[in-house]
Amino acid sequence: MLEFPLWKMIWLWGVTLAAAILSLPSLANVAGVDWPSNLPNPQVNLGLDLAGGSHLLLEARAEDIRAQRLENMEESVRQLMRNANPRIRIGDVSTGEGRMSFMLDSAADIDRARGLLEPVMQGANLTREWDLSVVDGQRMVLTPTDAGIEAALNDAMESATEVVRRRIDELGTREPTIIRQGDTRIVVQVPGLDDPEALKSLLGKTARLEFKLVDLNALPENVQAGIAPPGSEVFPYAPDTPQAGRSEAVRRLGGIRGDNLTEAKAGVDPTNNQNVVNIVFDAQGGAKFAKLTRENTGRPFAIILDEQILSTPEINEPILGGRAQISGSFTAESANELAIALNSGALPVDLAIVEERTVGPDLGADSIRRGLLAMMIGSLAVVALMVASYGRFGVYSTIALVFNVLMLLGIMAGINATLTLPGIAGFVITIGAAVDANVLINERIREERRRGRKVIAAVETGYKEASRAIWDANLTNFIAGVALFAFGSGPVKGFAVVLVVGLFTSVFTGVTMTRMWVSGWLRRARPNDIAI
């Protein structure tokens, strides 16, 4: 039990020093010493609650994606039937109750319609994304399948995450973390950002830009009451426009979506000195825009952003170059923000912020300072108690404790773990509880000596008998730690990491290493009596 062959000692010291050395760059960082840049530099990450920064949890509304899909389907169906040769006449189109249905004017068209719909019901990888049924002889009902909805949700979240990433990059913040979480959520963490207003307002923008013709036949009083004529829909003006509070009816179909942009840039209109956003369409968008403006010269169209009207300029002449200007009572900032949002693409779905945590850098720095101070005082008190109680054995526990903290820090740096504010509490608890193993062992040695055992036998029995309880206690603690890890979000997870890694380093240093030191001393000094 007390025999330590050379290879074992080398191995144990190797593990201890390797883990402890990993902690040096982090310690140098805390002490403000420059770490040589040509050496590896593993660092313990500081959580946002210590480093300062913003954490946002965004959630997409799955219903919106479903609704959007039905709407897209409606458009495809209308186009397919219109372009069929001969044209298939349909009516009574509806997208309620999670299904899209329409009536064929003539039941004879059923087979032709079915044939046309077949390709659009199939998704990628030949999964069936829609089911088609015919009721009452000539009503066709398209129901999205679960696989189809899942695929759509997945696509939307993939591209939403990408859009979020592009927008944050445009803001020029450093090292943001953007991760998809679960089915409908995205976690955004931006260290060092203590005023997330700009970020929040940018992420809150769906940036769905639409150009639609104003319905000039609508009755003004109906429009203000929110009632749209058939084929039209009513949108309110954006709050910061001069017409705020009023609404406008626009034609539902035949407009252009802003997806086909190649560039958006904030600028100033030289004629009236107003802030505007200049956009450039790609070839497809440019052609559509040219067609729209050519066919409707002299009429007003509405520029709609996220279901709010920015402005309703009149089309003075056909715009053929694919360039256009968006006016809408912008400030320089809001014009810039819109340009960023348009450049990064529209979000395929609205994102709501369901959790936000922001910590200012001062508070984080203060927490670290106070945490370190408390940790040092606490360690000194623990060390004083141990040395006063167990003499030489207390000194061994102290050395073990020092290596314990270094290894814990080193392993955390090595696995790139994050130290959070509760993690600091975890360090303190680990320091206070790590010596429990030594207390158990030392008390047992005391007991065995009192019962008259010889020194070597007492130490041997002490380590052996105490090990069982130490093993059981640490394993159950490990189980509780796993529950903690599974439960925890962010900061609490940091607490769990420290506690769990600390269990391993505590047992390793407190039991294995001290046994090696104690046995080495016993072999060298061969004491007849020990003070314990």
Binding site: T358, D362, L440, R450, E465, A469, A480, A483, L484, V492
Partner: protein
């Protein structure tokens, strides 16, 4: 050098003589705690209740304008805010609840958060925002569910482990002691109305771990003594085991206590609740290991033969090593 001995050698305190009164006390504590939780309720922070909590520092003032803030934020129409000093006299935390009926609106909490911060910035331009937590009703609900799940899972998992390593009576005894610890900690939070959030649940999970430490050390000694002293009556044997491990119990509780104290006194204000919970749990857990986990074994009929039929290979090895077999 004379070494410090906190507990004299060979103590023989009759802990178990008072087992019935202390058991009654424990039951009263458990029932009282749950009554307090039901009557007072827990003062859920934003983590569990949803809403917004913002921390401010008034750098140009000695004292934060607490009544003014209460009026300002209360006037926004989101219900009565909780405004209290946090850390220093010129620092405050303001908590705004989620208005009823907005639990399911994803962006409602953020909306409120933005308004509150804007209003404070207008009225007190010198105030520095140190932190802001905004949690929607849905996320708060998920936190509540996962907290309950984690506590139950942790308790059941460790009880099963102890059952496997010891005997079923020990598993039940440990589980009951843990239930006591968790209940009393919850009761304390219900009584003091200290804010109850994610960190406190983390603290309770840590308490579960460390209360078990004590329980296991005592159980391990009971198991050892059961094999050693076949004829000794159980109450006497439990007393012997508790006394034999008393020095360790006191010493370990003390080292953890002296490590936690500075953190409680000088540590970051945001950790106070968590550290206070762990410190309280330290005492509650030690008490329950001695007065609940032990006596329960008597009532569940543990005898000196409990470990005989299922003697494991490991135990036999130990016996051989001791020369008993």
């Amino acid at each position: 050098m004379k070494l410090l001995k906190l507990v004299p050698d060979d103590t023989n305190i009759k802990f178990l003589k008072l087992r019935v009164p202390f058991f009654v006390l424990s039951i009263v504590l458990i029932v009282g705690s749950w009554a307090a939780v039901l009557v007072n309720g827990l003062n859920f922070g934003v983590d569990f209740a949803g809403g917004q909590e913002v921390r401010l520092t008034f750098e140009e003032r000695e004292q934060a304008p607490i009544p003014g803030l209460r009026e300002l934020v209360g006037g926004l129409g989101y219900g009565e805010p909780v405004v209290q000093e946090f850390g220093a006299p010129n620092q405050v935390s303001i908590r705004v609840p989620l208005p009823e009926g907005t639990e399911d609106t994803p962006g409602a909490a953020t909306e409120i958060g933005n308004r509150v911060i804007a209003a404070i910035g207008e009225e007190y331009p010198g105030a520095r925002t140190d932190g802001n937590d905004t949690v929607s009703g849905k996320v708060a609900g998920e936190f509540r569910d996962s907290a309950i799940l984690a506590l139950l899972a942790a308790m059941v998992a460790v009880a099963i482990y102890i059952w496997v390593r010891f005997e079923w009576q020990f598993g039940v005894g440990a589980l009951f002691a843990l239930f006591h610890d968790v209940s009393v900690t919850l009761g304390l939070f219900a009584l003091t109305q200290m804010e109850f959030g994610l960190q406190i649940v983390a603290a309770i999970l840590a308490i579960i771990g460390y209360s078990l430490n004590d329980t296991i050390v005592v159980y391990d000694r009971i198991r050892e003594n059961l094999k050693k002293f076949r004829k000794m009556p159980l109450p006497e044997l439990l007393d012997l085991s508790v006394n034999e491990t008393l020095a360790r119990t006191i010493m370990t509780s003390l080292t953890l206590f002296v490590a936690l104290m500075p953190l409680l006194l000088f540590g970051p204000a945001s950790l106070f609740g968590m550290v206070a919970a762990i410190t309280a749990g330290l005492f509650i857990g030690t008490y329950s290991s001695v007065y609940l986990a032990g006596p329960l074994l008597i009532w569940m009929g543990v005898t000196s033969t409990s470990f005989v039929p299922q003697e494991s290979a490991l135990d036999r090895q130990e016996k051989i090593a001791r020369g008993e077999a």
